[in-house]
């Protein structure tokens, strides 16, 4: 066996953020290596560096012993590195057959041979019946197959698969797993990123775990699944709260005049059999859940399961395809986003989504754009500054100059400025250092204590379940489990969903 790929001290910086941190990595011929890690760990960035879609900041990459660190992407494809894209990139207006022909021509300049090879790949991928359909008319599953098929037309020596199973239904997933085995049997070496743990645990010969851009563990699936570092990375910290004194949003302070902690008769958020899609790609199949006034409800599930989509659907950033979203007596699914905010439903989006070229204070003021909250602006601003004293210090600074933790605080603060009755938080601990994560969770509890209903999406499952009254587990766009937070914490189901064990 010989080495197919090796990276040395591979590093990628985005501005100040280290996305891939000195990763040393090697793959032997014929291996299937699973690359796992929580959101934002740097897996896709790693793929982009290996395939040449991004330039490395430092370090070297070798393919079959040859250095390719600075080779352009198309040369790497010629050398035999095939890849799929997590955000699928078919050639939408070409037919499925033509999509494959583009790659087939690379190996077979003769048209006849190219068509024959493309037809063979189509056959192998079970796409024959769609050969003359345009790529944009395919379903998610079809597109994912097309991604793999297109990479296969290069007869790759090394195949990089980026989440080709996530988002498929069990039958489709099974088919894809079968297919990946077959591809390996034909001689390709495979590195795959996958969030469906069952799949990756079952398929991989070896697993490499990335967290915050660094390689934190490596070994057989069994070794990795029982590695405490890995469990921490996936399910969050086990440690209890430290006793560091904190400025908090002191409980008992009246939370403004239009709502208060005592308001237990407030509206309930209810989703009933909601379906939603991005374009043709359906993400939510059947989501029903309820958040009652004063509750803190967590929504957990693997990456790509539909957590963020659920929140976006409630916030009306995404059209509801079918089903109902109700808040009190109002049907949210008929409204526009800003009206939803006006009803008192605020969302703190994943990745903060700050207005980077505006100052901290401007970001906060923007949060109180509504006429309803403008009069309370001063009070609310004071409250946010009391909750996050650092923000007061930095209020003249541009948002882009804040650290990750500060940015998250600002995002939450901005959400609070609209005086919400229900606050939806999407992955507030994402990409933050453990001590900051602690602080975020403390803040979430304080907010809830304030009487604001909270719907929390978190990948730090341990922490989320510990503070949640109730939680829902979502898998492949469907709610599969519901129960009190602490109870779910002990659930084997939850572990299975995250670690595939």
């Amino acid at each position: 066996m010989s080495e197919v790929l090796r990276t040395e001290q591979l590093r990628k910086l985005f501005g100040g953020l280290v996305a891939v941190n000195d990763v040393e990595f090697a793959v032997e011929e014929g291996e299937i290596v699973g690359l796992i890690g929580p959101n934002g760990a740097g897996k896709t960035t790693f793929f982009n560096l290996v395939s040449g879609a991004m330039r490395v900041s430092s370090g070297r990459i070798f393919f079959q012993g040859r250095e390719i660190t600075h080779a352009p992407a198309y040369q790497r494809a010629e050398l035999g590195i095939g890849r799929t894209f997590q955000i699928m990139k078919p050639f939408p207006r070409l037919t499925v057959m033509e999509n494959l022909l583009v790659g087939a021509y690379l190996r077979h300049p003769n048209r006849h041979a190219a068509v024959r090879w493309a037809a063979e790949v189509i056959e192998m991928m079970g796409l024959a019946e769609f050969a003359s359909a345009s790529a944009r008319s395919l379903t998610t599953a079809g597109r994912k197959r097309l991604e793999v098929a297109r990479a296969l037309t290069l007869s790759p020596t090394l195949l990089l698969l980026d989440e080709v199973v996530a988002g498929l239904n069990p039958v489709e997933a099974e088919g894809t797993v079968e297919l990946i085995r077959r591809i390996r049997d034909r001689g390709a070496t495979i590195i795959m990123v996958e969030h469906v743990m069952r799949v990756i645990m079952g398929l991989s010969d070896r697993i490499v775990v990335l967290a915050n851009g660094s390689n934190i563990a490596e070994g057989t699936p069994q070794q990795v699944a029982t590695n405490p570092d890995v469990i921490t990375a996936y399910l969050g910290t086990h440690e209890g709260r430290d006793a560091r004194p904190q400025a908090t949003w002191s409980p008992g302070t009246p939370a403004g005049e239009n709502h208060s902690a005592r308001d237990d008769t407030g509206p309930t958020l209810a989703l009933r059999r909601v379906q939603a899609a991005y374009g043709d790609v359906q993400v939510l199949w059947d989501v029903s859940l309820e958040v009652r006034p004063g509750e803190l409800v967590a929504l957990i599930g693997a990456n790509g399961a539909g957590k963020t989509t659920t929140l976006r659907t409630v916030a009306r950033l995404l059209r509801v395809r079918d089903g109902e979203v109700q808040f009190g007596t109002n049907r949210l699914d008929q409204m526009s986003s800003h009206d939803v905010v006006n009803l008192g439903v605020a969302m703190v989006p994943e990745g903060r989504q700050l207005f980077n070229q505006m100052t901290v204070e401007e970001n906060l003021l923007t949060g109180s754009s509504l006429a309803r909250t403008r009069t309370l602006r001063r009070t609310n601003l004071d409250r946010v500054y009391t909750l996050f004293p650092l923000l007061r210090e930095r209020r003249r600074q541009e948002a882009s100059t804040l650290s990750g933790g500060e940015q998250q605080m600002l995002a939450i603060g901005r959400g609070l400025m609209s005086a919400p009755r229900l606050l939806m938080l999407d992955e507030p601990s994402l990409g933050l250092a453990p001590t900051i994560v602690e602080e975020v969770f403390r803040v979430v509890q304080d907010i809830r204590r304030e009487g604001i209903t909270v719907l929390l999406v978190e990948q730090n499952v341990q922490q989320a379940l510990r503070i949640a009254d109730r939680a829902y587990v979502i898998e492949s766009g469907r709610i599969v489990l519901e129960g009190p937070g602490p109870e779910l914490l002990q659930s084997a189901e939850v572990r299975r969903a995250y670690l595939g064990i």
């Binding site: 800003h338 505006m358 754009s369």
Partner: protein
């Protein structure tokens, strides 16, 4: 030396008006991601609106500016609502074609309404001047530069200090996040297009006392607006001010010291270089 200063001063004064044209285009691009090929025609609409009120109301053309701005703003909102909103999600070439079409229709409406003789108005300050030492200032240019400064300062205040301004900047930086703050981004888009139209119309009103109006001169100004915006950075409003002044001065110096028949080449060359070497504009940071 005096001559040089004189030429630079002229450049700055002309550049002020260029800045106003560019700011509108930049706002529109920033918030709506539309490269507005009708922008110069909006300016010409402003010129003719000024002309119309000047002739009907027999008042000073600078006095009818509020009316002109109002008309421009309304037209902008109507155009956005009826023609641009429906294609908001279409690929970018659709908006390019659409604005080309809008420009053609508008300039022809002007042609039917006002005829195609160049229109020149004579005011008492069209040719009067004042002096500061050896430097001569055109009164019309001075008034229009003064108004430019006022309008740009007002705009800076609006964008920097008011809820509306923050809403516009928020929508430009991240439309989804803006919606999540309760900002009606759809309304912001209409408003911004209205403002862009109004600013172009304002520039037309400012230029009319010294220049002429003709339904077909729009594209010349569209090109100027593109240059200003690219120099300053597409979508960068503050950059557009710098871009406008820079273009004004470059053109003035080029025309004086190289050749007036190549005058537009200097701006275009700068435009191309900035596009290639600093796509975020001379005054911008790259946005990701």
């Amino acid at each position: 030396m005096v001559e040089f200063i004189q030429i630079v001063v002229n450049g700055i004064f002309t550049g002020g008006v260029y800045a106003i044209i560019g700011i509108g285009l930049s706002l529109i691009f920033g918030v709506m991601r539309i490269v507005n090929f009708a922008h110069g025609v909006f300016l010409v609409v402003g010129m003719f609106t000024t002309l119309f009120f000047f002739e009907r109301l027999h008042v000073d053309p600078f006095l009818v500016i509020p009316l002109v701005v109002l008309v421009g703003g309304l037209l902008g909102v109507i155009v956005e609502r009826s023609l641009l909103e429906p294609i908001a999600r279409a690929p970018e070439h659709a908006s390019i074609l659409m604005t080309v079409g809008i420009g053609l229709v508008l300039s022809n409406v002007l042609l039917f309404t006002f005829g195609d003789a160049p229109q020149i108005i004579n005011t008492r300050y069209s040719t009067s001047t004042w002096h500061l030492g050896p430097i001569t200032f055109s009164t019309a240019l001075t008034i229009s530069f003064f108004l430019t400064v006022v309008v740009i300062s007002g705009l800076a205040l609006l964008l920097g200090r008011t809820d509306l301004g923050r809403a516009i900047r928020a929508a430009a930086q991240n439309a989804d996040a803006a919606e999540l703050q309760g900002i009606n981004t759809r309304r912001v888009r209409s408003l911004v297009f209205g403002m862009g139209f109004a600013l172009a119309a304002l520039a037309g009103a400012l230029l009319l006392p010294q220049l002429f109006a003709h339904p077909s001169i729009g594209p010349t100004y569209t090109l100027k607006a593109f240059i200003v915006t690219v120099l300053g950075g597409m979508g960068n409003v503050a950059g557009a001010i710098g871009g406008g002044l820079l273009l004004g001065i470059t053109e003035s110096l080029g025309a004086a010291y190289v050749s007036s028949s190549y005058r537009d080449v200097f701006g275009l060359a700068a435009f191309l270089l900035v596009l290639l070497l600093r796509p975020a504009g001379l005054f911008g940071r790259s946005r990701t």
